[in-house]
Symmetry: C2
Subunit: 469 residues, 2 copies
């Protein structure tokens, strides 16, 4: 059992860290973007150095006081919010934002965990390089949280998830010891890969304090098109066609449904579809090209090949950076419109590519008996990652469906699981999906996870209640 972070513990902790490290948490530290949960904490710790992080963790381990690491606070699964139980220490790395080193000739950069993702991107750009992790929340999320949750986003198709962009980590382990693993090596087989164990463990196995990141050359050209497709199955065939004809150049392949455009109009966003009437399914296709290829000609070739194969019925190709940004804005504003409409249930799922069309066809029927719903299905089709979100009909409130909300989620997740998919694709498990993990995860995996957690964090102080119950 954990002990609460009470005033006497706060006093003891205060003696171990520089003055000003501890304070009362601000509201922003106890809230999350969907407004579903309200956190609580005994104190907020904002250390300025890894030794101070270690001092906090060591003290908590000795006193069996829980620690909830908070990063940018943009997570959607409650990983940063502990609603009840013994009050924890909130540990924010927002004061650890230093650029520790940049090595453009190595395509590497070492940053502290509290650096905003947008600042990481900007630091890379300053030296003529690209850090390709890109999410809607990049202006407020921090790289430590991105790594702890193995963030995805729009660049995964070409560059991989957050874990694929990390060469090494510095972290404080649950006993307060420091893992010094800030290597900049591309090959290192000296022992178990703690980096990959910590990445995606959502703060339950330690606190990431700094990371060595991969950088990339900036692509010479990019070109964006919005293509009307007859069906999700056609979109997947188009993806395959693009992969064959533009190998290594497809950097974005996003699916948008007509409902997405309806929601943009309904919630007052001034973003119109370039198609009239709006087609049922649209693909946003982005290519990044090396120098020497004509971006628009390349895209036009793919467009013609797609049309010829019956996979594309209409399309627009951006001829300026402003137009390209507009097409991306359509895609990236949909989550904001969704939030305004108010979802009954949101699902961040991934599927084997060959199961996606079947899922999209079957899923609405599976929940039809539970109420009258609208579905907005969109997402990173190239990664097999859909955001399949269920909304009330127009003029109705999500609260009318409160009674069936859990049932909707279970029906959708059961279907995803039966098709070999994941119900925690890019947003992680947090506290929202702890029971899903227990329900769907392979028992062998779950037992191994529990054994690892018990071995590294025997008192269970690190982000109690997240990922594993």
């Amino acid at each position: 059992m954990l002990n609460p972070c009470d005033p006497s513990f706060v006093a003891r902790l205060g003696a171990l860290v520089p003055e000003g490290t501890l304070s009362a948490p601000e509201p922003r530290h106890l809230e999350e973007p969907r407004g579903r949960w309200q956190g609580q904490a005994g104190v907020l710790a904002r250390p300025r150095a890894v030794a101070e992080v270690a001092a906090v963790v060591r003290a908590c381990a000795a006193a069996r006081v829980g620690i909830v690491p908070v990063s940018g606070g943009t997570g959607l699964v409650g990983g940063q919010i502990m609603v009840d139980g013994p009050a924890p220490v909130l540990l924010s790395l927002e004061r650890m934002t230093a650029l520790r080193g940049v090595y453009p000739e190595e395509n590497a950069m070492v940053v502290e965990a509290g650096m905003l993702l947008a600042d990481v991107q900007a630091q890379a750009e300053k030296v003529g390089r690209l850090f390709p992790l890109s999410l809607a929340s990049e202006g407020s999320c921090r790289i430590g949280g991105n790594l702890a949750s193995n963030a995805g986003g729009t660049g995964v198709l070409r560059y991989g998830n957050a874990r694929d962009l990390c060469l090494g980590l510095e972290a404080v382990l649950p006993d307060g010891s420091v893992f010094n693993g800030l290597t900049r090596l591309r090959k290192d087989n000296a022992g178990y890969d703690l980096r990959h164990l910590l990445i995606g463990s959502e703060g339950t196995l330690g606190v990431i304090t700094a990371a060595s990141l991969k950088l990339f050359p900036r692509p010479a050209e990019r070109v964006v098109a919005l293509l009307a497709v007859p069906s999700p199955a056609a979109a997947l065939k188009l993806l395959s066609l693009c992969g064959e004809r533009a190998a290594g150049m497809v950097s974005g392949f996003e699916l948008i449904s007509r409902m997405g455009f309806d929601f943009l109009a309904e919630t007052g966003f001034d973003l119109r579809s370039p198609f009239d009437p709006v087609p049922e399914w649209v693909v946003l296709l982005e290519l990044e090209l090396p120098a020497g290829l004509e971006p628009e000609a390349m895209m036009a070739q793919l467009y013609e090949a797609g049309t010829g194969a019956g996979l594309v019925s209409d399309g627009v190709i951006a001829t300026s950076e402003a137009q390209a940004s507009h097409l991306w804005a359509l895609r990236e504003t949909i989550p904001l419109a969704n939030r305004k409409v108010g979802a009954v249930s949101s699902h961040d799922i991934s599927l084997p590519l060959s199961a996606i069309a079947g899922f999209i066809a079957e899923a609405p029927g599976a929940i039809a008996g539970l109420g009258a719903f609208r579905v907005n299905c969109f997402g990173h089709l190239g990664d097999g990652n859909l955001h399949w979100n269920v909304f009330p009909e127009r003029g109705h409130a999500k609260s009318e469906h409160e009674a069936v909300r859990d049932r909707v989620k279970t029906v959708v997740h059961d279907l995803v699981h039966s098709l070999g998919g994941s119900v925690a694709a890019e947003h992680g498990v947090g506290r929202l999906k702890v029971s899903d993990l227990a329900r769907y995860a392979d028992p062998g995996k779950l037992a191994a996870m529990r054994a690892i957690k018990a071995a590294l964090d025997p008192a269970g102080i690190m982000n109690p209640g997240a990922v594993l119950a």
Copy 2:
């Protein structure tokens, strides 16, 4: 303490698995390529299905009998060879070679762990795809061993290490339970990443029985050149130049020293340098190009840019696939020549790219006091991975340096470590580098590794003595 695999245990084990599963090990199961160690075992188990693997592991766990997993037997660090201690069960997956499924439209393939790497490549090619892991031993190594040791090879620069090519795993854990993780998902954040923990753990945390692998489109064109460079520092600047001008297309960047060519001649390989006189440093540069770019023109552009910047002094561009293969043969035959010459000490090291030139300049001086040596330095420069191997002078035998062999190794490894490098870059730790790991690994990492090992394999039956003492 472990118990030996004695005749009574063999008899009990035989009752649990189909007839013919157990036999006496053949010599090939007890040997390794460098002829340094001779293995021993109580019995050889060659199961045909994952349930049989699980039965063997369960029985061993119950009886506290060690298991040494053997794959293709090509490992260079003794991970597959247990020289002494209680006789283990040798567990070979050579009968589990099935193609479980191939999904070209998903760029994915599921294979059993015993499939030869060359067969994995061929199965991908059959469906018009590329599986890019490529090593000198690809005709005899098996994919399970490649993953267990996180193999590197010549495709890492563009495609990553073995771990980067794996979507999911099936494995038998040390208690005999099965981890069913054969997902084909590109995004899956449902819990800790056991896949990455098992990959590179060299059979000490479980036995990989099958893997879901990433496939890639086959590149439209490739072009290979051999370029004479004034120095390793120039080679690194050339790498950077290529990365900027041919972003995403550099698929090979190998360093060869004049000693490599000398060794080829000395050991009777009929492979000549295209340069006369042979320059001190040569780079093998390979580009993989999308359709629409002219491979030879692209390479000629890089050549001219390199020459203009003083980074290239001479060069040949292959104008046929036969010429390209010849250039690669030069690089890939060097390890065979090395073996014929006979190394005093071989070092598989990686360094931050910016530390490489300094290391190459400094290292010969560091060992000069220990004897009269020749150094053959070559390797995957693009990955920061050098094979820096120490040989006797011509006319002398390696045995003459037996007394200083360990000292040479330590001096080289100390230097690598001081420069932020790894002494186990792509070949792993095995049994050869257990003491190096203990000497150089971060104490926080080592303690966490020990805790994980103890949690998942409390009796210590999985590959006893490998990686961790």
